[in-house]
Amino acid sequence: MDQGVIYFPSKPAIIASGVVAGPVEKKSVFAKDFDKFYDDERAEEDSNEKGHQTMAEQACQIALQKAKIKQNDVDFLMSGDLVNQMTPSNFAAATLQIPYIGLFSACATAVSSVIIASLLTELGGSRYALAGAGSQHNSVERQFRYPVEYGGQKPGTAQWTVTAAGYVLIAKGQMNSPVVEAATVGKVIDLQQTDPFHMGAAMAPAACDTITRHLKGRGQKLSDYDLIMTGDLGKIGLPILKEMLIKEGMAKQDVQKIRDAGAEYYGDDESFLAGASGAGCSASVFFSYILKQLNEKKMERVLAIATGALLSPLTVQQNESIPCTAHAVEISMK
């Protein structure tokens, strides 16, 4: 047994998903796979945090509607976000009235919640479980950086926090649905990176470690997957990851096929600098684009690695480095 690698023999199925996003995300290259957009980034609520909460609730509701499942039949909700004490997720859980555990893995929460939900399903303790994460640009910016309207210059390595929420509904193994085959829980890797405007560089080593362990644990190669996608390394973090994997001895042509949701999210628009980030970035792409590719049988086996930088404004100001993690989930479709 390899450290942190989990197998799911009963193959928990992802039977439905719901992805909602804010106004800026309409420009996303993945936008056509999202379920709903808001014209107002606060979702017509009077604070950013309430808007964030509404989006989480909506995404869950959409997933439930698609699967035609009632709220009462859902046994667990695994959710998280980036706001202090994860209040948007907590309030959403209060509205939804589903037994809930809040999870924090920063931007890797989308996958860590899927891992826990799959485990609960695997154990037979859950008929249906909702899992997901979200982020809202304004509320995250104000907490980790500056007020939204502050005119500070961001370097080209900075990333744009996505306003989106993505949730999936996980049930016991079923035909015609993508299934969770295996997962790898990330270690926290800290290579003494300190620049809060260069998260890609901080997170790449964590992604490298998780990918390497997952492949070793599963006895697979990169080429065994139709798609390997990281969460939000961005346009600069992704090449760093590739370089690291090549140094680990992986085949160059396979490494070059690795994609990153954050790097592709806003296309070539340079005003988004190094691309997208935030818990909503991996959640919205993994739970729309990837699931759709699997459902339409365009792909058979996908490795999705969500990356998260585990920093706080406090640790940054105390000159601490930025510890990072990455959680991977292997999804397949027969």
């Binding site: 980034e41 939204v148 500070g152 210059q153 744009w160």
Partner: protein
């Protein structure tokens, strides 16, 4: 007339370049940069160098944040000159800055009328 505008442009621009170098080469946050510039303005006035710069460059010297340090020191020194030791202290309490009052007032008005919009270009 025109020469004053050009001087304001050049001197004001150069002070901003110093700020940019502090940020890019010194790797300082905007808050650190501005703090250093304010302290620099205060020290320059101690050497009687900032007022000539204002005479020379006009708004090129009064608009950058360095002039805030200058006006604080100027008030303190003027009082110290008049009243000695105690003047340094009273001078500190006497100085008012239109920059602070204006920022507070318009900050309050701004909060009343505007919402923060995170929307991107």
């Amino acid at each position: 007339m025109l020469s004053s505008l050009i001087m304001a442009f050049i001197v004001g621009g150069l002070i901003c370049v110093i700020g940019q170098l502090l940020m890019d080469i010194g790797k300082l946050t905007p808050a650190h940069t501005l703090t250093i510039l304010v302290v620099a303005g205060a020290i320059l006035d101690g050497f009687n160098l900032y007022e000539p710069l204002i005479d020379f460059a006009g708004a090129g010297a009064t608009i950058p944040i360095t002039s805030f340090g200058n006006s604080l020191t100027h008030g303190a020194i003027a009082e110290a000159e008049k009243h000695g030791w105690i003047g340094v202290l009273t001078g500190m309490f006497e100085v008012t800055s239109s920059g602070i009052s204006a920022a507070i007032l318009f900050g309050m008005i701004g909060a009343l009328i505007f919402h923060s919009k995170g929307q991107h270009p």
